[in-house]
Every structure is written in C-alpha cells, then in structure tokens.
Symmetry: C2
Subunit: 199 residues, 2 copies
C-alpha cells in the first residue's frame, strides 16, 4: 500500500519502468517533477511525445532522423560507395565526432546475440544486404564493438556480402591512443601485435 496520491504513485511507477532506475530513484525523480514550475513539467511531457512522434529510422541507413532520409544519406558531399555498419545510433555519433569518416552509415539496431535470442532477422541486416545488392557500394566497414557478439555479427554479415564482390573491412584493433602499454589487456596486446604496421 502506498501513502502518496495516486497520480504521484503512477509517476513513480513510470520512472521505475525506465532501464536502470530503481524505486528510490524513481521516487526522487517524481518528487523533482512535482517541484518543477508547471510550465517546465509540461515541456518535459511534450518533449517525450515529440521525440517519440517525430524521431524514426532513416529509410536508407536506419539511423535515427526526423526526416524521411537522414542528413548523411541526403548529403551530396559524402561518399555513397562506402558504408560503415554500426550497432547503434550512438556509434554513428561517436564516429562523426572523430571528423574522419566521410562515407555513409548503416545502423543495425543491435547485434546478433544467441544468448539473448537476437538473430539476424531481429536487427537491420536485410536492409544492408538490399543496399549492397542495389549496387554502387565498393566497401563496407564493420564497426561493431570488439566483443564476441560484435565479431559474430561482423562475420555473419561479411559472409552475406561477399557474393556481391564488395570489399568488407573492419576497424583496426589495437592500443587506444593515450593508453599505457603496461595496463593493456592481453587480448588487446595480441590484436595490436597481429595488426602491427610498418612505419
């Protein structure tokens, strides 16, 4: 039984349904909402509705956008023949921040993960194959996280794409810039040695 007004209980419940938010935090957040000026509380609610209503996936690259096609896919200055495949829109943001890549993207919205019952049909693999099959693509760069699921997904996709005669690459593994060799883990060191380059 609760000792708060039902509208407050409902709000606590909503917050508690968010990932990583427990009952205590949900209560704290709900109390914060009560303390907001009414206008700001309304703006918060409006932002939720607006984001949910206007943001959807780009029909080409599956990245998040509020248009039919995202800015990268519409751009005339970005190489159309290179596709960087990532697991999530956050990865697109990370790569864009590096200001180094000038091709297109493909967002899978997940990785293949048998343990979590996520198969190739649960992520946007088909859309990628269709893009490559449509022609004009020379290289597909796999940019999944360097973990088992990421590698499995990259291998699976590269096998699907090879028949189209497209070059499939992946991001280099190695020592992160600025890190200490001393603290690098064995797997990273091994990969860095394997991928050593002439200078």
């Amino acid at each position: 039984m609760s000792f708060f007004p039902s509208a407050l209980d409902e709000l606590v419940e909503k917050f508690a349904s968010l990932p990583g938010v427990g009952m205590k935090s949900a209560q704290r957040l709900a109390f914060h909402i009560l303390d907001l000026p009414e206008e700001e509380a309304r703006a918060f609610a409006a932002a939720i509705v607006k984001a949910r209503e206007t943001v959807h996936t780009c029909k080409i690259c599956q990245n998040l956008t509020d248009a039919d096609e995202c800015a990268v896919c519409r751009s005339q200055t970005r190489e159309a023949g290179v596709i960087c495949v990532v697991a999530s829109p956050k990865d697109v943001a990370a790569i864009e921040r590096a200001h180094e890549y000038n091709g297109r993207y493909h967002v899978l919205h997940g990785v293949i993960s048998p343990l979590n019952h996520i198969g190739p049909d649960d992520i946007r693999v088909r859309e990628l194959v269709d893009r490559v099959a449509a022609g004009g693509v020379s290289e597909v760069i796999m940019a999944m996280n360097p973990d088992t699921e990421g590698e499995t997904t990259a291998k699976y996709i590269s096998r699907l794409l090879k028949p189209f005669g497209v070059k499939v690459t992946r991001l280099a593994y190695g020592i992160p810039v600025g890190a200490s060799l001393e603290f690098a883990d064995d797997a990273t060191l091994m990969r860095a040695l394997e991928g050593r380059q002439e200078i």
Copy 2:
C-alpha cells in the same frame, strides 16, 4: 554539435536536467522512450502532467495530496491532538508503513540549513505554529533525521512551540532493531546509552 535529431537532443536534455541523471544515463533513457510503443510514451508524458497538475500540499498538514485536505487530516479515527513533524512526504510514508502512529502529521518540506541558505521561512514552520496556536494540540513529535540540520530544526521549532504550553518530544535515538552492536557508530551508541530504559 550533436548528431541526433533535435527532438531526441531535447529529450536527452530534459532527462539530464533531472537530479542524479548524467548525460550518458539521459541518453539511455531517451533511447528507451523511442523504443516504447507510442501509446506508452504518451502515457508517460500524461503521468508527468497529471502528477504535476493534481498533486499539491494539504492545506492543513502540508503533506502531498490530490484533495483539498489529505486522508490523514480528514480521518475521524486519528488523534487530532498529536502532530508528528517530518521533513518530507517520504517520511510520512515511512512512518505510516510502521502502522504504529495514529496521530496527524506536519510536513516541513525541508529542514533549516544555513549552509544551503534555507531558513525557517523557506520551510513550512509558520503553518505548524498556526496549527498549534489554533489550539487542540497536546503533543508535537519531532521526527526529523538525526543529523545536525534535523536537530537544529527540531530545536528551533520546539522553542517556537513551548510558549503554547504544548508537549514537544522527539523520536528515540538508539541502536536500530536487527543491527549489530559491534558495527554501531560511536554517536549512536552514546545516544543509546543516554536513552537507556529500565526493563
């Protein structure tokens, strides 16, 4: 610069404005909202507006309620002559859960805290004094947290109330039920000794 649609950025910003929510968490929460069925996202937004609109403070005890007077203040079976003073509505909920107290409450919505520039006029002290001045109150129980600010607030209020000839008490300090003496801190042990009772 952001690489997300503006509506998503705005939602991330809103979440990040909540207490204890950093940018990373805000992003995670905003992405979760995008993944919700549209109906659930709307229900979330509606819960925010509804809570903010319908929940306010009881005009007698200042606890949160969606009515003019809260259920405790309206109750015919609760002792009207005993008022338990707490800092926050959460404390009312905690005391109610104990099923031991049958009086009324008064919620201060904060404690006196010079360091945070919160003085007696910033919390609901006046409303309490008015209640006691109106008569019919025999005992006021201070139930603030046993820290410096809580004790300062309790002492300040008890000084204000003494002239009305009302009995002012505070919750007992001591070893929490189920705790180990071994791990009790010095201050608690001292208080427990001071407050020892004959058995």
